[in-house]
């Protein structure tokens, strides 16, 4: 028998089929029900905002990868996901040029300056959102619903002490950011990701339960806090961003609980009606420390 050209590598010689691209695209897929719901609720303009955001993210990613002479991998799903997530956090009536600015900041400052995928400390979509919230505060807090400018449920609560019916909150038939309003459709997507094992359930579990418990402790309506605002979107899709969340199980719990606590602090005592963006960005900073101090006990180790 003659020897063929044999490949020699170290073990293991088989690999699980899932890839980074598959994980990223799955998250994109999981967000589609909520996006469709948003389009139904807010109108077709939603799609142009999302399209602008994704296109700008892809282009920014491409330019950075070309200039830095890196492998061009714009279709690994990560830039599309950043664009989609950013758009989900924006008001439906936002001017398109603001979306472009936010997307450039998200990919440029949020991701590529740190070295691209895997290296960024902060969730890129939230970096983009935080930037335009500071730069254009009025635009970012103008909510148009049924053709009229209205206050969001959190705003109504903060300013007028007025509650919105639970069912409207759950389904998302309320003023708010594109992707944050429909808890129901966001949860359908999250269930799919948890089933595929692409989502660290400990982070949303810690974050949401903390918000519920603390709002109850401080005499507020827990169910309102659960479904008003962007908690569901943030807890399941932003806080769980793999790159910027802890890798240990204990770390994920602490990360989620910490983010939940900051949300409540900002919502109840802060100047902003909503605190999910900053809660997650602040907890992103703690990830290296959390990873370091929550190393699991190895089998047979006496700690």
């Amino acid at each position: 028998m003659q020897s063929q050209d044999l490949i020699v590598t170290s073990s293991p010689h088989i690999r699980d089929k899932s890839s980074v691209a598959e994980i990223m695209w799955s998250v994109v897929m999981a967000l589609l029900p909520a996006l469709l719901a948003a389009t139904y609720i807010f109108g077709l303009r939603v799609l142009t905002v999302v399209g602008t955001s994704i296109a700008t993210c892809l282009l920014t990613e491409y330019i950075f990868q070309r200039v830095r002479k890196k492998r061009v991998a714009v279709f690994d799903g990560s830039a599309v996901l950043t664009g989609l997530l950013l758009a989900m956090t924006l008001p439906p009536s936002i001017p398109h040029w603001v979306v472009v600015v936010g997307s450039i900041v998200a990919i440029g400052l949020g991701k590529q300056v740190f070295g691209g995928i895997g290296h960024n400390p902060f969730n890129p979509a939230l970096v983009g959102r935080a930037f335009i919230t500071s730069a254009y505060p009025v635009i970012m807090t103008t909510w148009t619903f049924d053709g009229v400018t209205q206050a969001t449920p959190l705003n109504l609560m903060l300013m007028e002490g007025e509650a919105t019916p639970y069912w409207e909150l759950f389904i998302g038939n309320i003023p708010g950011s594109i992707g944050e309003t429909s808890a129901f459709f966001l949860l359908i997507g999250a269930a799919y990701l948890i089933y595929k094992n692409y989502l660290n359930w400990r982070i949303p579990a810690g974050m949401i339960s903390t918000v519920v418990v603390l709002s109850w402790v401080f005499g507020q309506d827990p169910i309102f806090h659960l479904f008003a605002g962007s908690l569901i979107l943030g807890a399941f899709y932003m806080a769980t961003d793999m790159v910027t969340s802890p890798i240990t199980k204990a770390g994920r719990w602490i990360f989620g609980i910490g983010a939940g606590a900051i949300v409540i602090i900002i919502r109840i005592w802060g100047g902003y009606p909503e605190g999910v963006t900053y809660a997650i960005l602040l907890m992103n900073m703690t990830v290296p420390l959390l990873n370091k101090y929550t190393r699991p006990r190895s089998l047979g180790e006496v700690k």
Partner: protein, 440 residues
């Protein structure tokens, strides 16, 4: 639910269907064999024969005075043609005794020890195991008699036989349990006698129900032996995982199963112990699985130690399709070979041939901290971090992160969506830490 197991681990495609129901057949006699002088972890051997000597099947042909070593025997009758350097399965070179095979075999075995296990002297059993050259047949090739020598102050409570066979593709332990169940149980009794262990356990994954049934019926009259069914999950057959699953005991970091009163042996090793004691037959052949998409007729086969791998492949109908990798052992921990000019040794549990499209090189991309490696590591390490520290040669940090507790099972690399060579880098880190600690 409720099945015994360890925490975490992975579920690769098992791919055992092609060979699980095929009886073990004897390989044909090769014309030339090469018996490597190092088929164990430990001291090298010195040849006891020279060019031109006539040897018989079972005759000891190399040994040493060192305790941690297993002698080798001729697996055929024939004439010694010399001592040559050949490839070993680990990628290095090793001296081997070349023997031209004679027309007919004449057995040169040891005297059988016929008494019942309980009437045999434990020291005699250990001595026999050493003389028979038995080394762990699951792949590690650690000399078995060394495991059986219990140091003062230690006590062995349990002998665990590892019938998990968690490596995908391999079915040889499975077939051995069905075809040689009696020998395995008798071997277990001898191992218990040799160590003073009062209890024997056989751990088998639940994807081998026929093996579980066979062995359960064989031990139904044995009050001290129990067959335990475990979940099918890789690496269930790792010593530490099996002990955790069966006894809920944790081997201390840097320690041995002995530290928790356990000695673990492979089921095929137990059968070899039986043959050595009861038949006087040294370890001169071994059963193995030859399989994979790149093999025409996958089968279970009993090969003489020293048979060229190319001959075993021929007997399994040769290659099928465009071959990419030839692996000795299983796909998770086996070693891929640069050529077919390598030989069956005591630890060769399988020859796995995969087609090219299955093993195209994946190029790694940056880690995205998904923590899938952390979630599957059976010793609860943080593989991605350890692999990075290994690349940076941060030896102190590596030790702090318990790098030495890695069993190199490869679950982290298997699961990594960025296709990073995690276990590969960790292995290098381990070696560097070990080398530094040795030199200090």
């Amino acid at each position: 639910m409720g099945l015994l197991t360890f925490k975490q681990g992975v579920h690769p495609a098992y791919n055992k269907k092609k060979t699980r129901n095929k009886e073990i057949v004897d390989a044909e006699r090769p014309e030339i064999i090469y018996i490597p002088l190092q088929q164990h972890i430990g001291a090298p051997l010195k040849p006891l024969v020279e060019r031109g000597d006539q040897v018989d099947r079972g005759q000891k042909i190399a040994d040493t005075d060192s305790f941690v070593a297993a002698p080798v025997h001729s697996s055929v009758s024939g004439v010694v043609k010399g001592i040559e350097k050949v490839n070993d399965s680990g990628g290095g070179r090793v001296e081997a005794i070349k023997i031209e095979v004679a027309e007919e075999d004449k057995n040169h075995f040891m005297e059988p020890l016929n008494a019942k296990p309980e009437d045999l002297d434990p020291g005699d059993i250990r001595e026999r195991v050493r003389e028979a050259g038995i080394a762990g047949m699951g792949g590690a090739m650690f000399p078995t008699h060394v495991k059986l020598a219990v140091p003062d102050g230690k006590k062995v409570e349990y002998i665990i036989l590892n019938g998990a066979e968690c490596e995908p593709y391999l079915t040889i332990d499975h077939r051995m349990m069905i075809e040689k169940g009696k020998e395995i149980v008798e071997g277990l009794k001898l191992l218990m006698r040799a160590t003073g262990a009062s209890k024997g356990l056989i751990g088998i994954e639940d994807n081998k129900p026929d093996a579980i049934r066979t062995l359960k019926s064989l031990v139904s009259e044995e009050p001290n032996i129990e067959v335990k069914e475990t979940e099918t999950k890789y690496p269930q057959g790792g010593e530490k995982m099996l002990i955790k699953a069966l006894l809920n005991r944790e081997v201390p970091v840097g320690g041995l199963p002995l530290d928790v009163g356990v000695v673990v042996n492979n089921t095929s090793t137990a059968a070899a112990v039986y043959e050595a004691v009861k038949l006087g037959k040294p370890l001169i052949d071994r059963p193995l699985t030859i399989t994979g998409s790149g093999i025409t007729k996958p089968m279970n086969i009993r090969a003489r130690i020293g048979t060229p791998v190319s001959e075993i492949i021929d007997q399994a109908g040769g290659f099928n399709g465009e071959v990419g990798k030839v692996i000795l052992g299983g796909p998770m921990m086996g070693k891929s070979q640069p050529s077919l000019n390598v030989h069956i040794v005591k630890g060769t549990s399988g020859v796995l041939v995969l087609q090219k499209h299955e093993v195209e090189n994946f190029s790694p991309i940056p880690c995205i901290n998904c923590a899938r490696c952390v979630d599957v590591c059976p010793t609860n390490l943080v593989p991605t971090k350890i692999a990075k520290l290994a690349e940076l040669e941060k030896l102190d940090r590596l030790e702090e992160m318990q790098v030495m507790n890695c069993i190199e099972c490869g679950s982290c690399s298997y699961i990594c969506p960025s296709r990073r060579p995690l276990v590969h880098n960790i292995r290098i880190g381990k070696a560097e830490v070990a080398a530094r600690n040795k030199s200090e």
